[in-house]
């Protein structure tokens, strides 16, 4: 088990290197650079900038050098713990990302929690009461949930909240807390707002997970070990929760890892619609303005989270399923 985790951890730098190369070159791929879009923006607002200034800036940022050299310079700085300065915001990237990252991760984790807490019981109920009216009801709701794009749900919810309750559900904080430093009051205020994006982002995943849980459990319920447990005289609920549910959940554990990055990218549109101070909208803007160091930093952090998420789910799976544990050792 320990060897397994260490083996996985040793792979981490290699994966990160591959991802960083890929990320950097993809970000560089569009024609032009930050200055091109900067000049265009200035021109649009009526200001002009002379060529000498542009060349100076280009030299300052190292934009006049070949891409490979830019990458090496960037990576060496990252390795030293310096994520660079945002060209667009003119502030250190780390500082820009930090606050938003905390909010993004909390939304992601909370919606993961919401998804599991709602989907697993629904899946269990549907499977154990297959073809009952409640099962059909959940099935219909699940299809609706899967088919509804989350930004659409966000728009509808905003409209309903505004039209019928007169409240605005955008943002994560009340106006008085938006720029306030972290305090107990701010956390409570956050909790009052955060459930909206959590539910919106979680609905689709909940529906999908409930379907999968139902199907997995139906498969497991037909296995002989269930009959054997029943023949022992175990009460039905205890039996279902102890054996087939345990086995039906195992394959789902490995999907937690994919779920985290999916929430990040999925939250981009929803975060824009709901005006959430998360990383998504910032990432979008950094791509539009070709603020490559900020975009690179964000992609790198996404990759880290994806790798860590996969690692966590692999460890969880090995912990939950002795078959995997033994195979690895």
């Amino acid at each position: 088990m320990v060897a397994y985790v260490i083996k996985r951890l040793l792979l981490l730098p290699l994966l990160l290197f591959i991802f960083s190369v890929f990320a950097f070159f993809v970000i560089q791929a569009p024609p032009g650079d930050f200055l091109t879009s900067y000049i265009a923006e200035l021109a649009a607002s009526g200001t002009s900038i002379d060529q000498q200034q542009i060349d100076a800036l280009r030299q300052l940022y190292g934009l006049d050098q070949p891409v490979a050299i830019q990458y090496v310079k960037w990576v060496t700085r990252v390795l030293r713990g310096d994520l660079g300065v945002s060209l667009d915001w003119q502030r250190p990237n780390l500082q820009l990302i930090k606050d938003r990252l905390i909010l993004t991760v909390s939304i992601a984790l909370l919606s993961l929690l919401f998804t599991w807490a709602v989907a697993i019981p629904i899946g269990i109920y549907s499977a154990t009461h297959q073809y009952s009216w409640a099962d059909y009801l959940f099935t219909v709701l699940n299809y609706v949930g899967v088919a509804t794009p989350s930004f659409m749900l966000a728009l509808v919810l905003m409209w309903v909240a505004f039209k019928y309750f007169g409240v605005s559900v955008t943002g994560l904080f009340s106006p008085e807390y938006v720029d306030a430093p972290w305090s107990l009051g701010r956390v409570i205020d956050l909790l009052k707002h955060i459930w909206v994006p959590v539910v919106i982002l979680g609905i689709g995943g909940t529906a999908r997970l409930a379907r999968i849980m139902r199907a997995n459990l139906l498969d497991e319920l037909r296995k002989p070990y269930v009959e054997m447990a029943r023949a022992k005289g175990l009460p039905e609920w205890q039996l279902v929760l102890r054996y087939p549910v345990r086995l039906a959940i195992n394959p789902l554990i490995s999907t937690i890892g994919w779920y985290l990055p999916q929430i990040f990218s999925g939250s981009l549109v929803v975060a824009t619609v709901l005006n959430l101070p998360t990383i998504g909208p910032m990432f979008l803007r950094s791509l539009i303005t070709q603020d490559m160091f900020l975009a690179g930093a964000i992609v790198l952090i996404y990759c880290c989270l994806a790798i860590i998420g996969t690692l966590i789910s692999d460890i969880l799976l090995a912990w939950a399923d002795p078959r995997i544990r033994m195979e690895e050792s």
Binding site: K223, P224, Y225, E227, M228, A229, R230, A231, K232, G233, L234, P235, E236, R242, Y243, R246, L247, N250, A320, D321, P322, R323, M326
Partner: protein, 346 residues
């Protein structure tokens, strides 16, 4: 005078209600089991022998349901409310399958050795966990005492170094050991009646013989009754003292093992016995098989279920009326119009 039975199945009917129609998997089965007796339940695949076993345990899964008949069981240890009893018998068919009474009988009084020992342990729980669970369900013992009982059971069924196997997972054991572990689990609470559903089909012949010997010696030591479900007449001859032959959900013949093997009365039993290869048959001769195949469950022939494949088929009788099980000689019963002429004038 014969000993009183501990189980008396009377006209048991278990039907499966499918969208395509009703499958009468068990359609009027009657037999008795006495303490310390091994009753063999034989028949081809799909004749309802397994469903009969599951019906007794009341673990038939939907859309299947016990719809009629009585399963009279005399509890040996478990006390059941007086209201449920008559002359010391409980009618299991009347109990709630998931209710407390039925659950207190399952595992403690009547235990199951399932058809597939390979898949009958949960792969993510240790053998020990599942054994201890079975023991603690029915006996007021703590974790440690249960562990000692479990180790004792594993030793009894001949599992070497039980302390190690206790912490093993089922897929770490060989087929034979797994079957032994399953038997240990079935015996965990010293049941009075064991339902062994084809316990030897999934294992190789050498191990088969060992498992059969084990079951026989355990049965003798404990004076345990066994309902032995199999399609293998050779196995039946080895273990059973009484045989119930089933065809399409009905009992066609039943009797002491010697009578069934030496003077089978029903044409189906006769055909079954003919189809066993013998050492004395000349080489290169064809193995006699029963002609035709089992009818589709939705297409149950009218009258005697066996008449389309029967050599002694009597048109006008066998395809019109259903014969009933009647005594032939001694303890041997059969349901055939050759032995009991059909009532006239119908």
């Amino acid at each position: 005078m014969q000993e009183q039975p501990i189980l008396s199945v009377r006209d048991l009917r278990t039907y499966f209600f499918l969208d395509e129609g009703i499958v009468r998997a068990v359609d009027g089965v009657s037999f008795e089991v006495r303490a310390g007796e091994v009753v063999g339940l034989v028949g081809e695949s799909g004749c309802g022998k397994s469903v009969t076993g599951k019906s007794i345990l009341r673990i038939v899964e939907p859309p299947g349901r016990v719809v009629g008949g009585e399963i009279l069981y005399r509890p040996q240890k478990v006390s059941i409310q007086k209201a449920q009893q008559a002359n010391g018998f409980v009618d299991l068919a009347k109990l709630d399958p998931m209710g407390r009474e039925m659950r207190s009988i399952r595992g403690a009084e009547i235990a199951l050795i399932p058809q597939e020992p390979m898949a009958s342990f949960s792969p993510v729980h240790t053998i020990g966990f599942q054994l201890v669970e079975a023991i603690r369900l029915h006996q007021a013992v703590d974790e440690e005492e249960a562990r000692l009982i479990a180790l004792e059971r594993l030793r009894e069924v001949g599992v070497p170094s039980p302390e190690q196997r206790f912490h093993a997972y089922s897929w770490e054991l060989s087929g034979g050991l797994r079957q032994r572990a399953i038997i240990a689990m079935a015996l965990a609470c010293n049941p009075a009646l064991l339902i062994a559903d084809e316990p030897t089909t999934a294992i190789d012949v050498t191990t088969q013989a060992q498992v059969l010997n084990l079951l026989r010696s355990l049965q003798r030591e404990r004076r345990m009754a066994i309902i032995f479900i199999t399609h293998d007449l050779g196995v039946i001859a080895q273990v059973a003292s009484y045989v119930v032959v089933m065809y399409l959900g009905c009992v066609v013949e039943r009797g002491p093992v010697e009578d069934i093997f030496h003077s089978p009365q029903h044409p189906y039993t006769q055909a079954l016995l003919r189809s066993i290869p013998s050492l004395r048959t000349p080489p290169r001769s064809f193995l006699p098989a029963i002609e035709g195949s089992i009818p589709h469950p939705f297409n149950r022939p009218p009258g005697c279920p066996f008449h389309p494949r029967c050599r002694s088929f009597m048109p006008g009788t066998c395809d019109r009326q259903q014969p009933t099980l009647q005594p032939v000689q001694g303890l041997q019963w059969a349901s055939c119009f050759l032995l009991h002429p059909a009532p006239q004038g119908r």
